[in-house]
Amino acid sequence: MHPPIAEPLTRQVQFFTGKGGVGKSTVLAALATAAARAGKRPLIVELGAHTSSSHLFHGPDVGYQPSEVAPGVHATRVLFEPALIDYITSRLKLRPIASLVAKNSSLRRLFLAAPGVDEIVTLHRVAQLAADERWGPVLVDLESTGHALMFFDLPSVLEVFLKDGPLRQVVDSATKLLADEQRCAIHIVTVPEPLAVNETIQLHAQLRKRPDLHLGYLFINRVPRAWLDDEETRLVKSELAGASAGEPWASDLALAQYLAQRRLTAERCMQGLHHDIDLPTMTFEAQDEGGASIIAELSGAIERAGIR
């Protein structure tokens, strides 16, 4: 008998993907905060040049070595050079020699320019962190949708010409990790806006074509608040078209109508998402800009959802 499938948010490694600007990092930060409060040791892994978590947690710059950004929450950034040295060390076993190799100017140029090196050392680093028992869950913030697909495709791309050797091991362990339903989940983050929804539905369809990938949750972030009920919406509309036109309060009504329209668009978007994406879904209401408590609010919502 197979063990029951682990609840996606309790798995050791969680990937988050979605269109840029939908608030992936915020959702990740909230999940990490909720996990830390539940007594776990969450690690946020950022790929790329920019760090969002140091800003989100109002902490110091996040570097390659994991650092604590909030009570119980650690974050790390996969930077090319140290990740390369880590990879080479894992092969040569001697860190000083690995540093020499990584810093050799000719090899360095080769590594910097050759396509794939960046992705391979990133994959290696992610697998290394995933295997590290100090951390759990490991939450990986993937870049925008196109690049996430590239990331998941990488093992099969490399497969083409790696019959054996050390890179083969990197690819094999990454493939094994991605395919492990008990240890790994891929979550999609989106916002209820038309462009984002189209892209999310396409992304989901592409991920679904890969039976080896295991999808977790769909997070719908920044759902605009429902300010008006149906009756109020009708009143605003008729006032704007009639008695209130040109009055000093007409701009307030116009604003109300705009916000009602935005909410309606969001509702339609969410219907579209529910129709096309059969994943368990969590929604987060839009938070006020400048509110210091975005993460606290979202992590509270996660705790109320009762996922441990």
Binding site: H50, S106, L110, L112, G116, D118, T145, P248, T265
Partner: protein, 357 residues
């Protein structure tokens, strides 16, 4: 009105993802076309947003004509397909079908030309170079892919030149020779074999040998692209959101653009205001009796949104002062955009900011 100066031939829209960069690139291209120029908007984004913004069904590597309400200018749009562009580069440089075919059949070439971010960047810059030299266009507007790869694209030419440096490749390829100055190469190859494995090193050597004929042309072309980025007729436009997270990203992208001596012509903050929320909170409003029940809600709404806008406004002012640049703010584009007149109406709402220093 956001305009590029008449001498501008190439404009890069840069910024992190999700800020409306593609929509803005489309609108900027359109505004310039409506001024009578012949414009190509080129997207390097693997996601297909440019077609959505322009309200057309799809885009390909071949430029499509976008119908305009006027007859003076022209608007064209194309989406970069990495594989197609990369193959084209090889064919052109090879001058010989059989030689080109050997590269196209190479497994390393195949594995990477269509998959990796870095290949996208190389191919994108190649396409930009080609478009700039195409007499049909007065102006090329480039929508760069999001986040990190936006900068990646800017680095692609420099990296390519460095990689294609004859000495490095020869040093690597001829590592088995006996000459003493090449022994370092043998050592490097040996280390690389331990790190990357025999099969990859063999494949790489084969690839570099196969590519040897391309090096000369590539290197020259990459230098031309690098010069093009710093040409006086090239401008960079930074697109960002105006909330606090967006400001952090804008600062870091602006710093990266400047550190490369690229000309930052405009900074555009998108979704910075709602045209309906322009009234000041300070004005008391006497609502009529029939709206009394709704009034508290209307007041809360207005207070919240004007506060949000004020926060964004002060973020922008601070950015302008800190960087000594002017900026523009834009409201959120209303959907569906989908046609040139809606796009044009959107960008016309831009509000200027100037810096105090």
């Amino acid at each position: 009105m956001i305009e590029l100066s008449d001498d501008c031939r190439l404009a890069f829209c840069v910024g992190v993802g999700g800020v409306g960069k593609t929509t803005f690139a489309a609108a900027l291209g359109l505004a310039e076309a409506l001024r009578g120029r012949s414009v190509l908007v080129l997207t390097a984004d693997p996601a297909r947003r440019l077609a959505d913004a322009l309200g057309i069904r799809g885009l390909s590597d071949q430029a499509s004509d976008i119908p305009l309400p006027t007859t003076s200018g022209e608007l064209h749009a194309a989406m970069l397909e990495t594989k197609a562009s990369a193959d084209e580069i090889i064919r052109r440089a090879a001058h010989d079908e059989a030689r080109a075919q050997r590269v196209l059949d190479n497994r390393i070439y195949q594995a990477f030309s269509n998959t990796l971010a870095r290949s996208h960047a190389y191919a994108a810059m190649e396409r930009v170079h080609e478009a700039v030299h195409d007499a049909r266009y007065d102006l090329i507007v480039v929508d760069t892919p999001p986040a990190q790869s936006s900068i990646e694209i800017l680095e692609a030419p420099a990296r390519l030149v460095s990689f294609l440096d004859q000495r490095v490749v020869r040093w690597f390829l001829q590592a088995s020779d006996e000459s003493p100055q090449l022994r370092g190469g043998a050592l490097a190859q040996g280390l690389l074999r331990i790190v990357a494995g025999q099969s990859l090193v063999s494949a790489l050597t084969e690839f570099l040998t196969e590519m040897a004929f391309l090096r000369e042309g590539f290197s020259e072309r990459a230098k031309e692209v690098r010069d093009l980025m710093r040409s006086p007729s090239t401008r960079f436009v930074l697109v960002s959101s105006a909330d606090s997270i967006g400001m952090e990203a804008a600062k870091s992208v602006a710093a990266e653009v400047r550190s490369r001596d690229f000309a930052l012509a405009h900074v555009v903050f998108n979704r910075a205001f709602i045209p309906e929320a322009t009234r000041s909170c300070a004005d008391p409003v006497n609502y009529p009796e029939r709206l009394a029940a709704l009034a508290p809600k209307l007041e809360r709404m207005r207070a919240l949104l004007t506060a949000e806008e004020e926060q964004k406004r002060s973020n922008i002012v601070a950015f302008c002062d800190e960087h000594g640049v002017g900026a523009w703010s834009l409201p959120e584009a209303r959907r569906p955009l989908g046609d040139p007149s809606a796009l044009a109406a959107w960008i016309e709402q831009a509000r200027p900011f100037s810096h105090s220093t």
